[in-house]
Structure formats: C-alpha cells, structure tokens
C-alpha cells in the first residue's frame, strides 16, 4: 500500500515526458488498446445496461488502464505510476463509507449496489452563481430544509466582490471563497440544520490557497464537510491539487476526488469515457487518498450529461464502480435545458433513473442550463429530483432502461437547441420564496405525464 508521500516522490522521479507526448503516445493509444482488449462496446439501444459481466469488464479495463498510464503531473512533467498490485491494495483497503456532518445532521455516506432497492443519498443545491447573496441564502436554506436532503453543494454566491469580478488566483477569489463557506453555513443554520455537510468545498476555488484559506473553522467549515480535488482532464494533476491533499490529510478532513471525463475529448467515444471515469474512482483512492468521489462524465460538444451516450457511460461506470470499488460516489448531472421547461424534467428523470438503478451512492439534483446561467436554479428542481430518486429506487436497471428510452424520445432531438429556461426571479416570488403558478402548473403536468409512462411516483 503506498502512502501520499510515495505519490509525492513519484511526482519527482517518474518518467519525464512532454504533456503532448503523454496525450498522444501514452493516453490515447493505451486507452484504445484497453477498450479493444477488454471488449468494451457501446450499445445505443441500451442506455442502461443490465449486464454485470460487462460492468466488471469495465472495472478490469480501468485497473489495467491506470496501471499502464498512471497520472501526469503538470508541474514536474513526470508520470506518477502505480502497479496493478498497488491499485488492488487501494481497492481492498478502501473505506466504503464516509462520515459527514455533525450532531443531529451527521450521516454516513455509504456505497450502494445496482438494483439496490434502497434510496440513493440526495445531495441538494448547486455550485452555481446568483445575482445576490440573499437569493443564494434563500435557495440554499430551502433546499437544505428538505427532509430527504443529506448533503449540500454550496453556491458560489455571486461572481463579484464590491462590484469587482472575482478572478481565479487573485485575493478576490480568497474573499469570495471565504464568503461562500460563511454564507452557506448561515443558510444551513437558517434551515435548522447547522451541522449539515457541505460536500463541494470550496466552490470555484482555482487556487489551492483559496481552498485552504477558506477552510478555517472560524468561517464554518469542519473536517466532516467534504473537499473536492479535481483531476485535470484527462489523467493529469498538479501541485495545486496535491497541496490540497497534503493539507486535508493533515487535518483529517473528508477528501473528495472529482473526475469529469469528456466524451468526445481525449477519451474518444462512450467505451473509453466509461473506462476513464471508472479509472478516476481508483485514481482518487490511490493518488489522492480520497474517501469519497464526485463525478460528471460530460458531452464535449453539448456540455451536458443527458445525451444517450453519456447516460450509458453514467450507467456502465456506476455499475463497474459500485460492484468493484468500495468508495461512495456523488453523481452530478448537467442538463441542457433550464428552469421552468419540460425538457429539463425529462432530462433529469432520465439521468436519475440511469444513475440510481445503476448503483449510484448519492445523486446530486441535476443542474439546469448546463450550470452556466446566473440564477438558473430553484427549489422546484430539488423537489422533483428527490421524488424521482424515490421512484427510481423502486425500479431495476431493465425497467429504467425502458423508461430512459421513452424519455430520450421526448428530448434527444432538442439537445443542440435546448431552451435555456428561466431565472429564479422569473418563476418564483423572491419575497416569499414560493413558486409562481405557471411553474407549479408545468411541474404537475410533467409529473402526470411521467407517471403515465410508468415512473412510479409516490
């Protein structure tokens, strides 16, 4: 079993290579070979497969791939390599669960299995930007107050500080990072859940110093919250990420490895993306000493996670991971369409069906409008997401597959021209925090429609 200092040492002593050679001569050809050798195939007619042996083959391919490719360190231009034995050791000793939150808001984040029958953990809110701090607090507090909510992704609040736009790596980023943590803890208190776990710390912090600085307990952060450390796409890390690991290991805080393989990017198509997404679960364990994981395989062209091929990647890699790698994973999905559109609900339903029945341990309520529009989220998406997770937990993969195919028929052709939808203030009463009648009516219509195709809402 290797420790983090071994990883640091290998970052200084591994094979020296340019980044381009790593991409062209190591990553791309090895992934092609591994996909071929392990017989990984994408079947567009089955976005949610039920083949356990095929899922295990993706896991084996991921182990093989990580052992052959390693991870590239951008600061030293060296490859940090791991043997297959070291990877298997990391899997054997993986924690399988993660203690989050404090007091009566504490909960254990555990792994699930495909066709599990239990409810996936509901992870609420989004790391998105709002036009005012008050709006961010109101939305966060409403989401946290939902009785089924177990953890939150805190909002970045606003993208300015005293009118100045927050810039990566600048002092404004530090100020904004501290503000995000402080405001989110206040929102949790307002919801009556002061010990609620915040699992995406610190949102929009590009610099390691921001993550570390904003993590001071005086701002409301605790080791039982969760810190996200991102893998750079694909299979790359830097000393910024490793500095965060060094700090969090010394503090004893929850470490969440974030992997977001791009379908159509270096991974190529769906089979390669599924292998890389699964390899990232392993990379988090072996290189970052993570005790939970957050992932969002995403379509390179459409910027969303609801395309047919990405849904297959979500389902396949979730099955591969949950059957073989005992690390709890949060599944995050970006939807193409925005708030107050039927298409958003169709996409979110498809995503949550695919993930939940495939063994997702936690699902984040799908993010509207690709997560890039300001104020583009409301508590209605949380309400819908939680009801969908409950419904999906009563289904198996085969039933989910049939429903996902029906849902894809409703939205798939519109993905390139998806409606960006409303903002919070367009469809909610900002003063009372209640949804407008139009949005309520749309919501009820969609639920009735989805119930009619067989989604078993309570």
């Amino acid at each position: 079993m290797i420790d983090f200092l071994d990883v640091c040492e290998r970052a200084e002593t591994g094979p020296l290579m340019t980044e381009r050679d790593f991409e062209l001569k190591v990553f791309i050809p090895t992934l092609r070979e591994v996909v071929k050798d392990h017989g990984i195939r994408y079947d567009s007619d089955t976005p949610v497969p039920s083949d356990d042996a095929a899922a295990d083959a993706v896991h084996q391919a991921a182990v093989d791939f990580l052992a052959r490719v390693g991870v590239y360190c951008q600061d030293t231009n060296r490859i940090i390599q791991f043997t297959e034995e070291e990877i298997q050791d990391a899997v054997k000793t993986a924690p399988g669960e993660c203690l989050t939150g404090e007091g009566k808001d504490a909960s254990v984040f555990r792994v699930r299995q495909p066709d599990d029958g239990t409810m996936a953990r509901c992870h609420v809110n989004w790391g998105t930007i709002h036009s005012s701090q008050e709006m961010a607090i109101n939305i966060m507090a409403t989401n946290v107050a939902h009785p089924e909510a177990k953890a939150i992704s805190i909002s970045s609040v606003t993208n300015t500080v005293r009118g100045m736009r927050v810039k990566a790596g600048s002092p404004l980023e530090m100020i904004a990072g501290i503000r995000a943590v402080r405001v989110a803890r206040d929102a949790c208190r307002r919801a009556g859940r002061p010990g609620f776990p915040m699992m995406n710390l610190v949102p929009a912090a590009a610099a390691a110093v921001t993550t570390i600085g904003a993590s001071g307990p005086q701002f409301g952060a605790r080791p039982t919250d969760g810190w996200i450390i991102g893998i750079i796409s694909e299979h790359k890390i830097d000393y910024g990420a490793m500095n965060k690991v060094a700090y969090l290991l010394n503090w004893g805080a929850n470490i969440g490895c974030q992997g977001a393989p791009s379908l159509g990017g270096y991974c190529g198509g769906a089979p390669g993306t599924a292998v890389v997404n699964t390899a990232y679960f392993l990379l988090g364990l072996v290189a970052m000493k993570a005790n939970y994981h957050l992932c969002f395989p995403i379509h390179f062209r459409h910027g969303c996670c609801s395309t047919r091929d990405v849904l297959w990647v979500v389902s396949t890699s979730s099955q591969a991971g949950s059957r073989n790698i005992p690390i709890p994973v949060i599944w995050l999905g970006y939807m193409a369409a925005g708030v107050n559109t039927k298409m958003y609900f169709y996409e979110a339903a498809a995503y949550l069906l695919a993930a939940t029945t495939s063994g997702a341990d936690a699902v984040k309520m799908p993010t509207p409008a690709k997560g890039v529009k300001i104020d583009a989220s409301t508590p209605m998406e949380t309400k819908f997401g939680i009801e969908m997770v409950k419904a999906a937990s009563r289904l198996n993969r085969q039933q989910a597959n049939e429903l996902v195919i029906k849902l894809l028929e409703k939205y798939e052709p519109q993905i390139p021209t998806a409606p960006e939808g409303d903002r919070y203030q367009d469809c909610y009463d900002v003063k009372t925090g209640k949804p407008g009648e139009g949005y309520l009516r749309l919501y009820e219509e969609v639920k009735e429609e989805l119930g009619a195709i067989g989604i078993p809402f309570e």
């Binding site: 993208n159 790596g169 796409s233």
Partner: protein
C-alpha cells in the same frame, strides 16, 4: 506508383493517424518528383478534410483529430524542406495563437479547436494552458499571428480574457489582432462586454467565425 495512388496513400495515412506511414508516403511523393504543394493539397489536406467532416457529424472525436494532425505534421517534416527549396509556400488562411487563459488548466476545448483549425487550413500556435496576458501577446508577436483565441472554462477565469484585450489596447496592439473567445460559461454578451471580435460556441462555429474575420 501512380501519382493518384500516392495522393491516396498520403490521405489515408492522415485519416488513420499513422505518422510513420505519412512520412514514408511523403518520401515516396518526393522520390516520384511530385510537386510537394500538390502532395499537401491533393493528399494530406484531403485526409484532414475527411477527419474534420467525421468530427463534425460525430463519427470522430478528439483522438482521431489529434492523431490525424500529428500524421499531417510528420509528413510536413519531409515536405517542408523541399517546399522551401523550391521557394514556394503552403497557402494558409492565417495564423491563430490559441491559449487557455491565466488560472485555467482546461485544455480539451482549446485543443479541439486548434486541431479543427489546422484541418481547415489555418496555421496554429497552441500555447497551452494557464497563460498570462503578456506571455500570450509576446508569443502572438513572435508568431506574427493574425488572431488570438482565448479559452476559459471557469467563471473565475473569464476576467483573464478581458485582461488580454485590455493589455493589447494598452500596448497599442489591439488593431493588429482579431481576438475570439470561447469556453463553457462564455457567451456572446461577454464577448461584446470585453470588446472581443467574436465568440464561438463550439469548434465548428469558431472556425467559421475566424474564417470570416480573417477574410474581411
């Protein structure tokens, strides 16, 4: 070997992304006294066009683009000295310097665009990620670029796109370059706000935009 067969071999080497084959075929072309510019136009560029079309309709992805680009460059290593010896030049639509701005470590979108631009007849200087305004401008000057493409995938790195444009203005170089911006959170409104010459939502749109800008 027939001239057409040599062109076909050059084209297929690029389509297959086989750098060694592309080099060997380029040597064959020169040995057969084929005009090196014709070898580029009728062979290598045709291959890039095929891969570009496959990419546009979703039948090829970044790896195929990168391997094809690499095979193209391998063949050009053989053909370029002869092109220079004959005092000829490969026709280019312009030189574009591409970079992910300061603080941004994301490269996929930028690399896709860089490769698609090459496939469409542009010369590209791909500077890399996390590049500051002055470094981008210095490299654009060095490369005698016609346009600068700036990528930002995070809301907090978008201001660095503005910084490059502001620095160009301060250095009295703004009129020398067309500046285009892109990346997940970037919009046309943002491009207008910071005074960019254009915004491309994806690689295909960005190529059309740069073609239009550099022809005008």
């Amino acid at each position: 070997m027939q001239k057409n067969q040599i062109f076909e071999n050059l084209k297929s080497a690029v389509v297959e992304g086989d750098g060694d084959k592309a080099k060997a075929n380029a040597e064959e072309a020169l040995a057969a006294n084929i005009d090196p510019l014709e070898a580029v136009e009728m062979g290598l560029s045709q291959g890039m066009e095929v891969v570009g079309e496959r990419f546009e309709c979703g039948d090829a992805y970044l790896p195929e683009l990168m391997m094809a680009g690499d095979a193209f460059r391998s063949a050009m290593e053989i053909l370029n000295p002869e092109i220079k010896r004959q005092k000829k030049e490969v026709v280019s639509l312009g030189t574009v310097l591409m970079a992910s701005v300061k603080g941004d470590l994301h490269s996929i979108g930028k690399n896709i665009l860089a490769t698609v631009l090459e496939a469409n007849g542009f010369q590209v200087v791909n500077l890399g990620v996390d590049k500051g305004a002055l470094e981008i401008i210095q490299e654009a000057e060095k490369a005698n670029a016609d346009a600068i493409g700036l990528s930002a995938l995070m809301a907090t790195t978008m201001p660095a796109q503005r910084e490059v444009i502001e620095a160009l203005v301060e250095l009295n170089l703004r009129d020398k370059y067309r500046v285009v911006v892109g990346g997940g959170p970037v919009t046309q409104e943002w491009a207008d706000e910071i005074g960019a010459d254009g915004y491309g939502q994806d690689a295909v749109e960005a190529v059309a935009l740069l073609t239009k800008l550099l022809r005008s």
